[in-house]
């Protein structure tokens, strides 16, 4: 039998078979990651540029443009609107999505596959088309433009993710824990609140984060359906139509950094929770 180093499941470390194909693999992979991060890195670098226009070569280091952001009332207003909308979207999406996930995973009713398909529908529909569709719809029913409409639209696009994440979590759920609780004569509601939901908590967190972030960054549905207010993405989008400014560059860097931090934090929390053994009741 071959004596090469091998993991139990047959994986081989790459360096053991480094040939033309292996090198190509690595090159392409490195290129991929580089491509992914290039624009963001450049944007980050540019945001400190001590100049009037976002052009190379750089002219000096300054925090000035970040300062501009904090003093701009437009930015502040947009920020608050985005926050409200994203927060509302997150809550509503969870409230609708969780029971739906339960229904999909544990239900035995006729239309189940149909429901599943319907839930996934917003995923395959282009966002712009959803945006204008909502515009038409709201116009038709006489609701017009506004923040509530935007929230409704955002819930629409976040629902597939919420349901999927919760369903996935539910799927791998150990029902014997619930049965044990029932054997101990807990009422169904108690079982739900003190066993099921607490154990689903990582899923809830993930779904909440996803929904929030998705709504936070969303520009098209917001743009087409909002009244004269604005969200952060709308602000960026409309400003960009004129020209790109260093203020925007700083804002972009800030937002991107924020997202990165959130993702990393969520990731680390998620990994920890996975390896922790399931405890009785709440964490």
């Amino acid at each position: 039998m071959a004596a090469a180093v091998r993991a139990r499941d047959g994986r081989r470390p790459l360096y053991k078979r480094l040939n033309a194909a292996g090198v190509l693999l690595i090159v392409l992979a490195v290129l991929s990651y580089a491509l992914l991060y290039l624009p963001a890195v450049i944007m980050g670098v540019m945001s400190f540029n001590d100049a009037q226009l976002p052009l190379f070569p750089l002219e000096g280091f300054t925090w000035h443009w970040y300062g501009e952001l904090f003093s701009s009332s437009e930015v502040k207003d947009s920020f608050l609107n985005s926050l409200t909308i994203a927060g509302a979207t997150m809550v509503i999406s969870l409230l609708i999505g969780t029971p739906a996930a339960f229904a999909l995973v544990r239900g035995r009713f006729k239309g189940r596959n149909v429901l599943f398909t319907i839930v996934l529908l917003p995923l395959v529909t282009p966002t712009l088309i959803l945006a204008v569709a909502l515009l038409l719809f709201f116009n038709f029913i006489g609701a017009g433009l506004g923040v509530l409409q935007v929230i409704a639209g955002h819930v629409l696009i976040t629902l597939p993710f919420t349901v999927l994440i919760m369903a996935l979590r539910l799927f791998g759920f150990d029902r014997s824990l619930e049965e044990a609780a029932r054997d101990l004569r807990a009422r169904p509601l108690q079982v739900l609140l003190r066993v099921t939901l607490p154990l689903m908590f990582p899923g809830v967190l993930a779904a909440a984060l996803f929904a929030f972030l998705l709504s936070w960054d969303e520009v098209l549905i917001a743009f087409f359906n909002i009244d004269n207010r604005s969200t952060l993405p709308i602000f960026i989008w409309t400003s960009l139509r004129h020209r790109i400014t260093l203020e925007l560059v700083s804002l972009g860097t800030l937002l991107a950094a924020l997202t990165a931090v959130l993702v990393v934090v969520a990731w680390l929390t998620m990994s920890k929770k996975k390896t922790a053994p399931p405890q009785e009741g709440a964490e």
């Binding site: 047959g10 081989r12 990651y33 339960f102 712009l128 799927f171 991107a256």
Partner: protein
Amino acid sequence: MWLGLFLLGPLGIMFVYSLWKTDFTTFTIIREWNLDAYESIFTNSLYFDIIAKSLWLGAVVVVFTVILGFPTAYLLASRKSNRTKMVLLLLMLVPFWTSVLLRSYAWILVLEEQGAVNSLLTSVGVVNEPLSWLLFNRFAIIISLVQLYLPFMVIPVYAVLEKFDWTLLEAAKDLRAGKFKAFAYVTLPAALPGLLIGFLLVFIPSVSAYITPTLLGGTEGLMVSGLIASQFGTAYNWPLGAALSFVVVFVLLLVVFVLMKVVRPWDLFERGAAR
């Protein structure tokens, strides 16, 4: 008790979806029913061209995401060390969650005439004048869309390869299969579901991309979504916009439907129960 939950869920979904049952009726502004809008799409070559162009660009983007993404996913899945995997995965996820808007307009800084690339090239002396063909054309659209949707290809392929039984390659080697054959007959079929899902997740948004081509495409940046958007803006032809949207959705659903026949997500879902 469970019945209550089962009722809530579907009802909730139904409610939100009534929002989605938007009225794509072909009504004129005077509210007469007619099919004028659809007619004009099929007869007017301009609209047809734009739809075709969008589909073509979508396909090109997919090709590049596969070329870059498949090796990445493969590399990721074939790592022995869990830590390396987690780190690399994390690095792939961060751009995935970053806003489309941000990732798009950052490209302006890279590709503009006084942007990063040109600045580097001129200072090193490779070219005498900055290249103007980097931005505001199809090249920019393609490269930015590839960057944007690369994670959408990598992650599904990785997810599938992650479950791959590497010992099968061992078996293939024992049966005297050459490396290429082993790859083509063992690895590739296993990765296929992931590739198909990746295809969908990249193709659909690319074809219907709006933000990116508008920001970076310049005069060549008009894709089908831009056309639709302008119907609700300056062109003010809502019926046409609606009709175009329906055509696009129909074409995309067709693609999805065909591919769903090959890969069945809900079967995969249930097969997971056996693990």
